[in-house]
């Protein structure tokens, strides 16, 4: 993996309009009792686009087939509601090596149409080395 990815900030994703039926579909998929409440892990739908940017980075050197999800966090300023138009900006905040594996921490900062912070989704991906 390319250590020069640290500190790299990617272009913001296209605005994502949170739809009521998408919320219901996602809520049912995570076995929610009340499918009208936006599940706490819903931002993964938006984060997906930013992680695709990271994995597609030409000089990133990340082999998708060797990537394992290490940990995940969502830190909110306010709950997401249907009707929100959300944009995510990805930054690589850390890369560490541990026993032949690399760990990359990617933060997707998600803001609403007014530019106000809604949630930050933080993923650590473990890229397994050659075995």
């Amino acid at each position: 993996m390319n250590p020069e990815l640290i500190g790299r900030i990617f272009p913001p994703t296209e605005p994502y309009l949170v739809g009521r039926e998408k919320v219901r579909e996602f809520a049912r998929a995570v076995l929610a009792t009340d499918d009208s409440v936006v599940p706490p892990t819903f931002p993964v739908v938006i984060q997906e686009a930013t992680l695709a940017q990271l994995l597609a980075e030409p000089d990133g050197g990340i082999d998708f087939t060797r990537v394992v999800h290490g940990d995940q966090r969502f830190s909110y300023s306010r709950p997401i509601v249907a009707g929100d138009e959300l944009t995510a900006t990805l930054a690589v905040t850390s890369i560490k090596s541990l026993g032949g594996h690399s760990m990359v921490t990617a933060e997707s900062t998600i803001v609403d149409a007014a530019g106000e912070h809604v949630v930050t989704a933080i993923s650590t991906l473990v890229v397994r080395g050659d075995e």
Partner: protein
């Protein structure tokens, strides 16, 4: 509400039975179509014993008992987990995952709820912490 909470209290407990159907539904809803979550041959080709649940699916349902417990008294303002062990989902038997949600710490308008999530008597999520805000 937070004033009535005591660290160590169990606020919710639930067992989820998941099947391959659950994984397909989650793949569609989340957009994560990695084939290790629905094809045994692909899972085995990368050294796994078989199809496993998306980590984000486990993270997703593990917090739902807390969401139900909160109702409209509060909301989840922070949620983190570490993925420590895979949840293997047998084609016939599925998998059974148990969630226990316990009060960790209590503040004036917030609390930390700690989740213990087990499959086959082993925890599958580490440092699974939910911050709930009452406001």
């Amino acid at each position: 509400m937070s004033l009535e909470l005591t660290p160590g209290d169990i606020v919710a407990e639930r067992t989820y039975s998941i099947t391959r159907d659950t994984l397909v539904r989650y793949a569609g809803a989340s957009g994560d179509f990695n084939a290790i979550h629905y094809r045994d041959d692909v899972a085995r080709s990368v050294g796994l014993p078989g199809v496993l649940a998306h980590g984000m699916l486990t993270m997703g349902f593990a917090v739902q008992p807390v969401v139900d417990w909160l109702g409209d008294t509060g909301w989840v303002s922070d949620y983190q987990v570490r993925f420590t062990r895979p949840v293997l989902v047998d084609a016939l038997e599925g998998a059974s995952v148990t969630v226990i949600a316990k009060v960790g710490t209590v503040e004036e308008d917030a609390a930390r709820i700690d989740l213990t999530v087990t499959f086959n008597n082993e925890t599958v999520l580490g440092k699974a912490q939910v911050r709930v805000s009452f406001s």
